[in-house]
Symmetry: C2
Subunit: 139 residues, 2 copies
Amino acid sequence: MEQNDLKKAGLKVTLPRVKILEIIESNPDWHMSAEDVYKELLNRGEDIGLATVYRVLTQFEGADILKRHQFEGGKSVFELISKGDHDHLVCIKTGSVEEFHDPIIQERIAAIAEQYDFDLTDYSLVIYGISGAARVKKK
Amino acid sequence: MEQNDLKKAGLKVTLPRVKILEIIESNPDWHMSAEDVYKELLNRGEDIGLATVYRVLTQFEGADILKRHQFEGGKSVFELISKGDHDHLVCIKTGSVEEFHDPIIQERIAAIAEQYDFDLTDYSLVIYGISGAARVKKK
DNA sequence: GTATATGCAAAGGATTTGCAAGCAA
DNA sequence: TTGCTTGCAAATCCTTTGCATATAC
């Protein structure tokens, strides 16, 4: 379980790290901010500081356990990398996030990087719009 | 010239707004942060506060004169909307920015939004990599 | 003249850091 | 033990706001 993931990443297995990883792995929508994780820790009665949450999330990012996203607004949100390759649709009314995967786009991105002589390391694609669900509510 | 753009946008023509627009229109790489604009104002001997720069840039964004981007890192950068439709390649070594336009990707994005029942309002695509230029320097 | 815009300083939110105390190996 | 981790508080970074003054039309 988590213990192994942490060790493999070269991170000592500590209670805060295990708890934080647990929370992220168990979260239904898989996109949490540092604040979200911190609140959930409080809910669970853990005594872990917000600074530690930030530090641990950053370490997890460096260890390729999490990916950081910066959808509009100042906050960063994190999700498990093990969820695999996908991009995001964000509803600007509700903030809800959906995921999609499109090989054609990925192919084009690789081709463009090559064309401009860039060694592709990563890319970020976020589609913003109003979801059907949000439209219905509005009515 | 600028005067008209401002009036058309419903913004009173004030010295700070004109100067800031001038700077952005004359900047060679067309991607400036609030700090960048502020420094350039100082260089030119203008006495305009940083808060005003932020306020004006935000107004310009609302008036569809500028587009705000949030490439990695906390800072926002702005560019003229009149430059038209394009996305960005950002070099993670040098921070340099290049632009590209790819109709195939845009078509796919529209199709995906439709497929997920999203009214597409905007999207953000940034490719990160190491530019040829940066690679040469490293050697 | 009057509403809007500006400058300054203070406030704000998110994230990071310094340091002494605590824990894993 | 011994160094990596944590908690707390203070610091930092970018950005926004309050308010009295200055300015555009």
